[in-house]
Structure formats: structure tokens, C-alpha cells
Symmetry: C2
């Protein structure tokens, strides 16, 4: 019998209750968060998760990702859903499988660093409302931005999963900055912080199969916590990357149920289940259970979401990711920016300027939101710079980055660019080097004064504190002060049928 490093061929057994494998691949399902966030603009409603919740609870997933990322914002802003309610509701239906959330470290579930008091309260309440696993990431991989949230995760007795955002400067793993040594060092940092598991977070699907093999092997050899791989399908490589990671000994893999899989989401779980039958890393899953869940999703749920699929192109993958090592959406955003300025002819200049700007700004990872920061500044340079003057128009976010509000960059920011950016900067012309949240005043009490009696409990208050404008609007809907607009109400299967008929006519 051949073996494939950590994968070894074993006698075949198709029974749904076959004995557990020696070292099963653990699977975390992302259908209920990253799946619809990737494919359906995060518009997945709780009512469309309930039909499959109990069935999913029976599969044997290591965890289900149910919360965090963009869902907190989208729920209250576009769906008239109280985000806390989804957590509590799903927890009632799913009693066996741990819940995971995507936590943007000190950014919590918003778009800026929040003060320590708010961050602590958020984590505490999230844990109390049912969260088990806190997948924590920072766009700069600056783990000082983890300190406050991790303290509370541990205090609440929950699982802290620390992320290393995967990014590159070369077409493949290597170069001076984001090389094997970098990732091993980051893994060790996370282990020292007390990470219960470590996630390689590849939001763009950049991690190539044989690099994954080397990376997982190196990280597994260097640290003790289990290693979890999150690699989007966007480039087309992820099924191969998963397989080599599994052979290298990765502990947990992220997948989605088939109807929420592929495109910019994740590889599907079912082919992987089939692949690992008859090996010592068999998942143990019953593929008939998965098929039943998929039938419900395809028939009862997806008709209400399929209109949100990006059909601007036929291609299922985005090879710009392979060409430029940039996240899927980043280049289309740049193209849109240029189009608005009627400057599409400058796209070549943008491609050339981008690595320069990235290097100037400290060779930061190209992940949300730093990819946007680099991208927008690049377009600005292409449109406005002259031979005499670079960085003629510097964005507010670049100024914040240069000041140190995001954290420490992988290599120092170009001192000239930094100096130019901080000229007249309100907070000061000398950058700070402290943990970014240290310069933030406490927020909770101030928010409490502002919102007054509209926030009925701490959960309402935390929502408002992170999202003062849309949060207040939501609370007014919640407590019947303002009527709920039609736009945030759910569509029905009847609406879907009517739309399909009109489209067929056309």
C-alpha cells in the first residue's frame, strides 16, 4: 500500500457508522457565514438557516462558522435582524457542534479599532450568547491588536484561534518578507499568546499546493496547537492545496456545503469526504446526510439568493489572483475606480505602481482592508502624481496607517512617504509605535449617554457603539419607533416565482 505522508491507504469501509479513522481530517463548515458572505453579499437570513440547522448538527463537523465577519453589520443594516438573536437562535437548534466566528481582532465586527472597554464587552457578550471559537485576525498580523480580545476570550473560557493572514510578494511562497520563516515565527508568536489553534487564513486562495505542504509541515514541526487551513477557491487551487495540506498533517480544513461552494467561496465538503474514504484520515462523515442538507438548501433556500450571484463573467475562478497575487475583489475595485475617472487606459500603470506603493507602505499584507488602502492610494498616484511629486493626494487611511493607527508593518514604512503623509495630521506628525488601541478613549459610557433609553440592554448598546448610525436606525425598527422599510424585509418563494416568470419572458 502506498502512503502519501500523513495519508495512508486503509481497508475500504463505506458504512455510515464505520469506525473512526486513526487521524481524521476535521472539517469546519462555513456555509452559514463565509459561504453566503462570499457568494450572496452576506444576505443569508436566519430563517433560511433554521431548515438545515439540526441536520448540520448531526454531520460531525468540528465546528460551524455562524457569525462575525460582515454578518453583524449586514444583519442589522440590510436584513432587519438583531445579530445577537441569530446567535441565540441557531444555538437552540445546534446543541452538539461548536460555533465559530470571524473576529477582526480590535476591529471586532466593524471597520476601525474600537476602544478596549468596548472590545472587552463585545467578546464577553458574544461568549455568553453562545460563541465557542473565536477566530481572530488582524490585517497586518500585528498581534498586539489581539491582546484585549484574547484576554477576554480566555477569561470567558472559550477557544482562541489565532490567524496568520496569508499573503505574498512573489507569485509563489518566498521572497524577503512573507517566506517560510515569517509564517513559522508568527505561529510561534500565536502559541506564546496561548492560541488553542492556529489558522492559516488565505482569503484570496493564493496558497499553492506544494507551498501549503511545506508551510503546514514547517508550522506543525514548530508549534503544538492544531493547525487549521482556510483557503478560498477563488484561484482554483484550493482542492489541490487542501489535499497536500492534509498529507502534510493539517488538522482542520474549511469547506462549504456544495450549493454554497466554489467561485469566491470554498471548495465543497462532499468530494473531500469521498476522497478520504479508505484512508487513515477519513472524515467519518455520511455523504447521504450531506446530500439531504443540500437538497433542502438548493430547493428551499437558494431560489431566494441566486439573483445575488455575480454573473458579470462566466469564469468560476479569477486568475488575476494568480497573475498579481491580489485578492479577488481588489483588481475589479481598481478598474471601477479608473472607470469612474474615465481613465481605464491607465490600468497598466496601476499594475506597475501597485507593488511600489505596497513596498512604500511597509509591504503590508494584501488582505481586507489593507488591500483597499494600497489599491486606492495606487490609483491616486497614477491619476495625480507628477514626475516631480509622488503621493500628491494621500488618503486618510494611508495617513492613519503612517501614524500607526493600524499597527506595525512587516517592514518599515518609507520615511519620506510617512513624513509627507503626517504633515498636518491632526493626531500628530510623529508616528506612534504603541499598541494602536492605547490611543483610543473608552467608548462604552459615551455611547450609553448618546443612545439613552433606545438601547434596552448591553447587547443593544454594543451594537450601537460599533454602528452609531445604522445601529440607531435598527434599534428604532426593533422597538417600533420607525416603520420597517420594505427593502429590508425578506423575499418569499412567491416573489421568486414572479421574478423568474418575468425573466423567462424577456
Amino acid at each position: 500500500m502506498s502512503d502519501h505522508d500523513h495519508v495512508q491507504i486503509t481497508p475500504m469501509n463505506y458504512d455510515s457508522d464505520r469506525p473512526p479513522a486513526e487521524n481524521p481530517v476535521k472539517i469546519m463548515d462555513l456555509t452559514l457565514r463565509d459561504g453566503h458572505q462570499s457568494l450572496f453579499a452576506t444576505r443569508g437570513r436566519t430563517e433560511d438557516m433554521i431548515p438545515v440547522a439540526e441536520l448540520m448538527d448531526e454531520v460531525g463537523f468540528w465546528a460551524v462558522e455562524t457569525w462575525g465577519g460582515a454578518t453583524f453589520d449586514t444583519m442589522h443594516r440590510f436584513l432587519n435582524e438583531d445579530p445577537w438573536e441569530r446567535l441565540r437562535t441557531l444555538k437552540r437548534y445546534m446543541k452538539k457542534t461548536p460555533f465559530s466566528m470571524l473576529l477582526r481582532a480590535q476591529n471586532l465586527v466593524g471597520y476601525r479599532n474600537y476602544a478596549d472597554d468596548l472590545a472587552t464587552a463585545f467578546v464577553e457578550r458574544t461568549a455568553e450568547n453562545g460563541m465557542d471559537i473565536f477566530r481572530t485576525f488582524d490585517a497586518l498580523n500585528d498581534y498586539r491588536n489581539f491582546e484585549t480580545v484574547v484576554k477576554q476570550i480566555k477569561k470567558s473560557g472559550k477557544h482562541f484561534q489565532g490567524c496568520i493572514c496569508y499573503t505574498m510578494t512573489e507569485p509563489r511562497l518566498g521572497g524577503n518578507v512573507y517566506n517560510l520563516d515569517y509564517y513559522v515565527a508568527k505561529a510561534k508568536d500565536l502559541e506564546s499568546m496561548g492560541a488553542d489553534s492556529i489558522c492559516i487564513k488565505d482569503m484570496a486562495g493564493l496558497l499553492a499546493p506544494y507551498d501549503a505542504y511545506e508551510l503546514i509541515k514547517a508550522v506543525k514541526a514548530a508549534v503544538s496547537p492544531p493547525i487549521h487551513l482556510h483557503s478560498h477557491f477563488t484561484s482554483g487551487m484550493s482542492p489541490m492545496t487542501h489535499l497536500k495540506a492534509i498529507e502534510a498533517g493539517v488538522d482542520i480544513i474549511d469547506t462549504c456545503m456544495t450549493p454554497y461552494a466554489y467561485r469566491t467561496s470554498h471548495a465543497a465538503v462532499e468530494p473531500l469526504v469521498m476522497t478520504l474514504l479508505g484512508t487513515n484520515r477519513d472524515t467519518g462523515f455520511d455523504i447521504k446526510k450531506l446530500a439531504t442538507i443540500n437538497e433542502i438548501l438548493e430547493k428551499e433556500v437558494l431560489p431566494k439568493y441566486k439573483h445575488l450571484l455575480d454573473d458579470s463573467k462566466v469564469s468560476i475562478i479569477d486568475i488575476n489572483v494568480l497573475l498579481h497575487q491580489t485578492p479577488g475583489g481588489m483588481l475589479s475595485n481598481l478598474v471601477n475606480q479608473l472607470r469612474e475617472m474615465d481613465a481605464l487606459d491607465k490600468i497598466g500603470d496601476v499594475y506597475r505602481e501597485l507593488p511600489r506603493v505596497r513596498r512604500d507602505l511597509g509591504q503590508i499584507p494584501l488582505v481586507t482592508p489593507t488591500s483597499q488602502i494600497v489599491g486606492v492610494q495606487t490609483v491616486n498616484n497614477v491619476l495625480h502624481d507628477t514626475p516631480d511629486e509622488r503621493y500628491k493626494m494621500i488618503t486618510g487611511q494611508v495617513k492613519d496607517l503612517c501614524y500607526g493607527l493600524y499597527g506595525k508593518t512587516a517592514v518599515p514604512i518609507d520615511p519620506e512617504v510617512q513624513k509627507k503623509a503626517l504633515q498636518g495630521y491632526p493626531r500628530g506628525e510623529e508616528p506612534v509605535t504603541c499598541r494602536p488601541a492605547e490611543v483610543l478613549e473608552p467608548e462604552l459610557e459615551k455611547a450609553k449617554q448618546e443612545i439613552g433609553s433606545l438601547a434596552k440592554d448591553i447587547d443593544d448598546l454594543i451594537l450601537y457603539a460599533q454602528f452609531p448610525v445604522t445601529g440607531k436606525k435598527f434599534l428604532e425598527w426593533k422597538y417600533g419607533i420607525t416603520p420597517v422599510p420594505v427593502a429590508v424585509k425578506p423575499i418569499t418563494m412567491e416573489d421568486v416565482r414572479r421574478r423568474d416568470i418575468l425573466i423567462k419572458k424577456a
Copy 2:
């Protein structure tokens, strides 16, 4: 440096003109045949291939599949294109890259066995018109059905690629019939026939990664000709299957350009190119060239075809393949059959009856067209059989199969079923065991008499001989005897824009 059996890590080199690898994976591109046959109902027009033909000729593909399969039928029947003309036209644009076609052995490019004289003439003319590689398959893997065409392929001095159709009785490779020994024996048969290369033809995407590894290793050890893997993406496993096949030493892999990839087509080539950089099996391809081709396809070609995509479900893969080891379309055909008879409630009975019928009929491969033969008969049994009488309504195709018109089945047909099927069968109640085409009268002269002067040359005649009804109609369009209907004329980008506007309104 780790090695992955036949794949070994080498120093990285990104240059588009980097030195060739030690044992490059050879790639055959299927965009111009299986790609649009899978995704766009074979409606790809020659005029939409010309914009990318020369660029594709520069990539370095081992071959491009440009012809055969369903294209000969579809071209003359639905596109008002002379199939021979596509071959000649593309050959003018593509001077370096060999052409491959899918040849249905004695079925040529039609749906029944044709007589030896017609088969010989077809292959001869195809070779003269520019075909280089004849990928030859038979649904029963009965290589007697290859004899006539192979004789002419060799006489014409062309490349004979013999296929082993991949099929299963178990959820994974194994069982009593289609096991490793079966595939090795078939490979040896093909080698004895003089195959210049051997193709594992997995039309349904059933071949699992670790089975591919064992299969390729066993076949490579047993025979000398290069081994070529054709495995559709339908089940989601093919990227993983490709990688393990490559590690096992497979010589050639089939892929499509990204806009024609995934779903029921093939994995895309670009992620594989990226994956194999920095290994001894680097394809040598320049990914920027591939990107340029894709841009043209996405912008100038696909808008005219995207309406043909199957959007009846959101899922990109079909896990029925994994559940039942049946080709993608087979189960939906069965469902449609039941729906027409208002008997959808019997689908469970169909799933139970299917393996029994398949066993009765000789455990034949479930590939086109034998999958349909088994499927339709299964539904008939479910709808009409009584406790006293099985096989109450036997299809004409099952009778032909029982008579021996298709060839030799993997195991003998159930004698009782065979006897019942042949009761009153026109050709005789005793099955034949000869090479099927031996019972067929020569066809060419008869066809020539029938079509008369409407066929101006041998190519016209061969088209008519295979497709008497639609072929005659096409020749009447070709020679201006009948006006060309609007339905077979190409749509323009203007048509596309108009349609998109109407749909957006709805």
C-alpha cells in the same frame, strides 16, 4: 527538499522562457470541443474560435481537441456549419499544435455502428482534412469495435489513442468487475492493438484521487505508451485527482481555459500551471498568454453563449455522481422520465432497480450511450413490471444490446432477460458474438445512390451517410437549394445587448 513521488521540488523560476522541466506534465486543451459541448450544448461556432486560435497555438499544448464528439452532428444540424470546414479552417490558423478528436469508434461521430466501408472512409478523410490524434472509445470497452478505424488511422499515419472508459460498481475503485486488474488488462489490450497512447476516459468525474494514484501507477508499470487522463470536474474531485495522477507519473492531462472550465466541463489549466511551477513537472506555460486568451473569450465570445449555461441549480458540482456513481445527466434524465409519467414518487424504486438492471444487462459501463440504455429500461421496469413479470416493456436498444449489436458486455447478460428480449427480434433470436459491424451491410454506395448529385464530394457523402435526414437538409442549405432558417444563424453581440437589457428590466 520533499518529493511527491514523480513530482519533485526544484528551484523556482518564473520567467516565461524558463528552461523546460525534466518531465513536464503535457496538457491537452479541450476548450474547442469538450468545453463547449459540456457547458454550451456544443453550440460553439468556428467564428468564435478564430479570435483565439493563433494565441492558443503559441501556448505549448501537447494537442488541442477541436473536433468529433457531438460537434459533427451539432454543426450541420444547428449551426449551418460544414463540419469538415471547421477542421480545415482551424488547421490554417493553428500550425504548430496537433489536433485531437473524439472518435466514437465504430459509431464514428454518430449514434449507431456504421459499416466498415463508411468507417474507413470517414477516418481517411478526417486524417486528410487535418486530424492528427484519434481518441477512440467504445462504451463497452469492446476493442473489436476499434479494429476498422484503427486500421485506417495507422494507414493514414496518424496517432491512435485508445480509451478505457472509467466506470464503477462500488463508490470507489474496486469490486468484482471494474477493479485494478480490469483496467490494467484493458491497457495491455490497447498496447497490443498498437495504441500510441492510452486514455483513461472519466466522463463523469468518478475517479477519486487516491484511486487515480493507484490506477496510473499500475497502468504505467504494465504498458509502455504514454498515459492520458480525461476526468471531468462534475463531482468536484478532478483537481485533486489530477494532482495525484501527476504524482503517479501520468503523462498528459486534459484541461480547459478558465471561461470554459468547471461545472460539468474540466478543471482549468491556469491553477495547474501555477501549481507545477518550481517542480520537475512544470508545464512550461506562460500564464500571461493564458490570461490574454481568457480575456478575449470572456469579452468577445462568451456573451453569446452564457444563456446556454444550465442555471437550474446554483451548485457547481453534482454530488449524485458521488452518491450513485452515475454520469451527471443520467439521473436528471430519469427524473424527467418519471415526471412525464407523473411518477416522481417512484424515484426511490428507480435507485434500487438501477443496479439490478445494470447487472442483468452485463454490468456494462455507465457512460453515454449505455447509461441511457440502462436508465430508460430501469424506469420502464419500475413503471410497468408486476410481481409476476419483470422486463414487461423492453426497449429496442436493450434488445439490440442483448442481440450483440453493441459488443461484448463485461459479464454475461442474464440469460433469461436476454431470451425474453430476443423473442421475435427481427435479426434473430440467437445472439451473435462476432464483431458487431460484421453484421452490417456496406453503406457508402447505397448512400451515394440515395443522395445523388446533392453530395458534391466524398466529404458531403460521408456527412449524408451518417446523418441522412439532417445531413440532406444541411446540404440543401449549403448549396442554396433551401433557404437557411433564422434559427441556425449566429447571434450577434447586438442581439446579446438587447437581450440583457430586457432581462434587466424584468
